[in-house]
Amino acid sequence: MEEDKIKSSGMQPEDFQSQEKDIKPLPENITGRIKSLYLKARENKRLYKTLQISSVTLISIFCLLFVFLFMLYIVPGLQELTSGGKTRFTADQELKKDTNYKKLTQLLVKDIQRLSKKYSSYTPGQSYVIINTTDNRFFLYRNKKLIREGFCSSGSYTMLKTEGEKRWIFRTPKGKYWIQGKITSPVWRRPDWAFVEEGLPIPSKDDPSRWEYGVLGDYALSIGDGYLIHGTLYKRFLGMPVTHGCVRLNDEDLEAIYNTLNIGSKVYIF
């Protein structure tokens, strides 16, 4: 049988034997080598000590790492396992027939209906606008239905600082506001920061250089505290946070909003 194998492989019997010799004693060689290396290391005290220290260090690091990982990941998992105690829920038919139970649930249902009605009454039936300052988008609603959406520009979150202690933060306020005024052909009264920003001296309050025409578009809607929803010359910046706190829109969107919203209409900014 073995001879057949040798024949099929096309090798001479001596060749095969020599190959077998090469393969079989290898493990012994390795252990022998390790043994000799170990003996050599033992003879070399410095090397032996270094090996000993490094192996102890490695084991310690491994143990510490295990402890660390155990505390980081296993213990929280363990907490989840032990937080158990599933509550049993019943659908007790006897309880369902109980008059007190019926009264209780009826009372709850009534409460829920009342509260649902109250909650839905918060959404205005009239027109309102929602402004998303993170994505710089607006959503115009009429009769609780979305009628228009598009891009806008909101506060840039820039803090303008002077060498003195003066500072302004250009952010659009968030929360619920309402339209307090509607203006056609608005004129911009440049505040102090508009001069500071350009390195110009701040003029007196009634200085004619404060008035700028045609930069706010055809309409402006005031939401209080000096903040406006208005048009812009910089239409390429729509969809970006670039303003000093006001909300800028393109001409068509501004006209639609101006025509849809009335004084008192809600403006939701987030």
């Binding site: 102890v56 143990c63 402890v67 155990f70 505390m71 980081l72 296993i74 213990v75 929280p76 363990l78 032990t82 937080s83 158990g84 105690g85 509550t87 829920f89 019943t90 659908a91 007790d92 309880l95 007190n100 139970y101 209780l104 649930t105 829920i112 509260l115 109250k118 909650y119 839905s120 009454s121 918060y122 959404t123 205005p124 929602i130 998303n132 300052t133 993170t134 994505d135 840039s156 979150y157 820039t158 803090m159 303008l160 600082k161 060498e163 933060i169 952010r171 968030k174 929360g175 619920k176 500071v196 920003e197 390195g199 110009l200 910046f237 970006m240 946070p241 670039v242 939701y268 987030f270």
Partner: protein, 266 residues
Amino acid sequence: MKNSEKKKLPGKMIILIATGAFLLVLLVYYSLLSALAPSRKRAEIEKSIGPQQTSGNNKDERVYSDSAYNTLLKEKSFLQARISMAETDSVYMVLNIHDSTASLAISGVEVHTAKIREMKISRILRSGNEYLISSMFASPMNIVRDFATIRKEPLMIKMAPKDTSEFKPDIIPDTSDYEPVNYIMEMDNGVRIFIYQESDTITKDKHELFYFDLKDRMKNIWSSIKSSARFKVPEYHPFIKIRLPKADAKILYRAIPRQGQVAVYM
């Protein structure tokens, strides 16, 4: 010489074994105390808002474990919490675990809604007493602190030019969306809400999330170790972990005020 070496080795070994054993004992002690923490929290909740604490104690005890009654109660609690938040003019968050949505609302008007892609909820909230859970969430939770990988307000500081020669017109702002969005909000009732951007993101984002999570875990471990050292059961924080699309996660974080409010419906 050889004998003394032989004598030294077992001594070192004993020290090593003793240290190992000590560490093991500490680990077991820490694990046991930590394992006790959820039941302690549960007892605390029961004590403060359990059935015996609520008015109308003449109710049949079976009512508290009746699923139909509890479902109605949860719905009522959720509405109550939202109405309470709607009374303010501020932005608040509504987590509807039941519908897998996370939304923002202002004065009762839903202004933004995002679909929750993944969620993991603490077992104490998932399988605990529904009566307790609905009582726990009947009033809105207040955010006491938050940790995030993004800034709440991406403020850029610009120095005013001294004169017109120094003035440079504004360049287009950098709106590239490279920041990973992960944050944790700690509530006044001890619940922690983790909001992570959804997982199909770039490797860098995954690394950021790993370090963010690791940092938080280490912070918790430190406080747990401190409690354990004082022979106290560490504090347990029930959690709600959700994953949202990155853009939605960012919108939610930027919109909600620092001390904002959150309502949860399970």
